[in-house]
Assembly symmetry: D2
Homo-oligomer: 144 residues x 4
């Protein structure tokens, strides 16, 4: 996956359920970590560029498919990449791999730029033009 | 939504993120609660009928769309209903409503019956015929 | 336990770990729910009286002892009571019981009133005199 | 702190609460990660040496004091060390530091060796003599 930023994880005991495998909502937590890492690697600190200015990337749609399970102490890598970007929305996709390089899960999250105080969606190019400048230059992948 | 079983929730402080709203993966945790409640209301105790016999409903595909946010101390209701059932898979759908009855989110989860010890998918009708008897009688909704 | 407010719980699948029992940090999440319920029952809405006015009860000290484990679908009850209150601090204690009334865990949390914006501890009687009026009237237990 | 094993963390968005700081139960999740890392660095794989043989370190007592808060994207380090070890119990202590080396929190967890199937406490020297051999050699700190 071109342009992806990879974040390493080590499965935590508390991330696993009574079946002994990673509890499925946890993957979205990993995606959030991978998303912030992707942005930071490309010059956008989520906390400073967005949160501290009263902006948040509110999640409006998510999907995930699970292929292979992971258990505590397993290592995993999440590749995050951007595949859609407009002045009002942004979508990213994620691939989770295990130590053998096998795809364990793949997902997608779509976000709106929201003003925290008003809880309203905003046009990022108007609300924070400097952030939009940086976002526009982010590498994008073609959706498969 | 016909045939749905409704589970009430009250948003926990710890379920919210720095934007002050329910952290999006939490909805899948609520879906899991609502799913077990749905099954139990229809005579299937998840822990006794499945877990204690070495079976688990492994999640293989999930989706969720978010429309309105919720914050700590808000009340919410999740309607869970079954919309697909075979001897190897089962899918449920969920609608989250707030105190005003507005739809806050809607999601879907698809599951395979898996033997915990072998981590293999099984035919539930062969592995646990009595559970299959009960599952077959569950009310199903037509997918919209 | 006199003056306690009791909150019912049903153990969630996602609250349990690979040993099949409630993951120990989850009890503190339950304590937070029980704490907010205690305050609300006594006329203090955490979100409206504190959070919306830029105040938060920051945790400064916690303890918990675990006696009996709980698993998914088990019912549990948490009794929350106040046992220390000053203009700068507040401490609560909690007892977790199972369906047979056995004590599964007991804990304690101590909090400082903190101004979210400045991250500074405040004198609640000065910062929010009306909240202090209500807090002062809360029933208190003698520490055993 | 001599003999400690240090585990690095980067605060996740989902680990923070509406006050914008790490939700206090999360520290116990970090302690669990740091504990497994400590054991692994000293030759005990938690999953293989304990879990896969039907043993678990059940938590029986925890404490934590919080001094400075952390927020999303902050870096933190947890020093874990052993300070008590017998054939039936084990206790560890933890210090959380931020990027400036300031102590943000310190905690302690005490554990019993428990047989998962019977849910009974066991004498580790009898139940798993080889694990006891390794545990005995772990570096211990004097309790301050």
């Amino acid at each position: 996956m071109d342009h992806a930023v990879t974040t390493p994880f080590e499965v935590r005991w508390g991330e696993c359920d009574p079946a002994g495998i990673v509890y499925h909502p946890v993957y979205f937590d990993w995606f959030a970590v991978a998303r912030m890492r992707f942005l930071r690697e490309h010059g956008v600190s989520y906390m400073e560029s967005l949160h501290d200015r009263g902006l948040v990337l509110v999640v409006i749609d998510v999907q995930c498919q699970y292929f292979k399970s992971l258990r505590a102490e397993d290592k995993a890598w999440v590749d995050a990449s951007l595949h859609m970007l407009t002045k009002t929305r942004l979508a990213m996709q994620y691939v989770v791999r295990n130590e053998r390089g096998e795809v364990c899960a793949q997902g997608r999250t779509e976000h709106a730029y929201v003003d925290i105080a008003s809880q309203r969606a905003v046009n990022i190019a108007k609300r924070a033009p400097d952030v939009w400048e940086v976002l526009q230059k982010l590498p994008r992948v073609q959706v498969s």
